[in-house]
Symmetry: C2
Subunit: 271 residues, 2 copies
């Protein structure tokens, strides 16, 4: 009987995970306290805590000091189409239409008013905007929600040059209803010919952990969107941070594809 291979804390974690999967422990419900689990599994409290730590790092439960440990209630994931679809045309702006939201109609996106700053760009930003040393940029930062759930943190950077040439509304801490792309075309004659998204993932920093309400070893998608004008010059860089636990992305290549079937979640797949 080669059964006693795994450490006890992993066995306990596995047992609790199964109870969560099979809804014996329902979403949002409270787990037994550490002392109760200690008796049930005949283990020390430290071992119980090691098991719970595993479940936390897997995003299955969360602990609240003074209260207890609770099964996390996962939200229906937000699905974002990165490539513009036929209806919205050639997208890629900053505002509400910036990223086409699948399941639109059911869900209500919202965002804080932009926090606008003029700053010397950090090195990675400057490189992507091809801003030389000493150059200044305008940054516009927003916290974005869907149905009241923290969805993403977004910061757009524009060359200061646009302000000098007349696009002063970029400095206003208010939305640009017609979209920044349209506004820049109208005021300074800069037309967007396309953009490039650079998709990465990393651990969430402290800010992001607080805003999204995720643990310290949760990961986030970071998408760098560089938009180019008719002279192939970067005209905007938008950095958006999405927690991976509630976000998915779609990229369409080719025309005339059937609509995605949104009721089909991409579940686990054998490799």
């Amino acid at each position: 009987m080669a059964q006693q291979q795994q450490p006890m804390y992993q066995q306990i974690a596995e047992d609790l995970r199964k109870q969560i999967d099979t809804e014996v422990l329902k979403r949002g419900s409270q787990l037994p306290t550490e002392l109760e689990l200690r008796e049930r599994y005949d283990a020390s409290r430290n071992t119980i805590r090691d098991a719970i730590k595993r479940l936390i790092s897997q995003g299955l439960v969360e602990t609240r000091p003074g209260q207890g440990t609770f099964v996390t209630s996962k939200v229906d994931p937000f699905v974002t189409v990165i490539t513009a679809d036929a209806n919205t045309g050639f997208g890629g702006g900053e505002g509400a239409a910036y990223l086409s939201q699948v399941s639109a109609g059911h869900r209500r996106p919202s965002a804080t008013v932009p926090k606008v700053e003029v700053q010397a760009p950090p090195e990675p930003i400057a490189k992507r905007l091809r801003a030389g040393p000493g150059a200044q940029v305008v940054s516009r930062h927003q916290e974005r929600y869907i149905d009241g759930i923290p969805w993403s943190l977004q910061t757009s950077f524009y060359p200061m040059d646009f302000i000098v040439k007349g696009a002063t509304r970029l400095l206003m801490a208010e939305d640009i209803p017609e979209g920044a792309v349209r506004y820049l075309a109208d005021t300074v004659g800069v037309r967007q010919i396309g953009y490039r998204d650079w998709i990465t993932a990393r651990l969430a920093d402290d800010n992001e952990q607080r805003f999204f309400g995720i643990g310290h070893d949760s990961t986030v998608f970071v998408i760098f969107r560089t938009a180019f004008d008719q002279t192939k010059t970067p005209m905007r860089l938008t950095v958006t941070v999405f927690p991976t636990d509630r976000n998915q992305f779609i990229v369409n290549v080719g025309t005339d594809l059937p609509d995605p079937q949104y009721d089909e979640e991409p579940g686990e797949a054998a490799t």
Copy 2:
């Protein structure tokens, strides 16, 4: 004196992280043993281990039983272009050209011979291929490397129908040099008009942890690529798993964009 705010194990982790960032502890080098750190920081071994666990979950160090703890040596990330570029034309096959590899010329991709199976597809696969109950599919699984480094795990699923109609080479455990797209067009007249990538992230399972050599709380990208034929019917589903610590993706929207500047890593950005 509001200095004793953070727990000790977090302070120790922070101190070690700084030493790694400033190259005091170089890439690949060994950290002091737990007993040495225990004396240096005047803490118990368990507290030292809590600090190291934090560094592990941040991907900064790795432990090897019987040997010690080592600073992880990060590889130059692999950058994959998801949208087809002008040169390769309308991509989306299964083989080597399946995903255009940036920095090509410097790096050598390789893959194991496909492991071919005929199976009843798991539920998520069947849904996406629109395979009814009882339907069979052919799966072709490969482990893929770049410069000998584990890069991705890929499984493609084809409807069994193609085999019946004559595309028997799909059953062979060997590469299809001209590409599966071309082969299917030639043998059964099924032409690919495009594909849709569905990008998600999740924790790595045991298989993936072993193959990629990553920890149990590391995350992976999972990309579901559904390819459609001229009748808008799914003709292939490819599931590819990439560890997030060494992979990035580019999506181009619009034509005539300048080339990416590959020497510019997307570093950390203020939000």
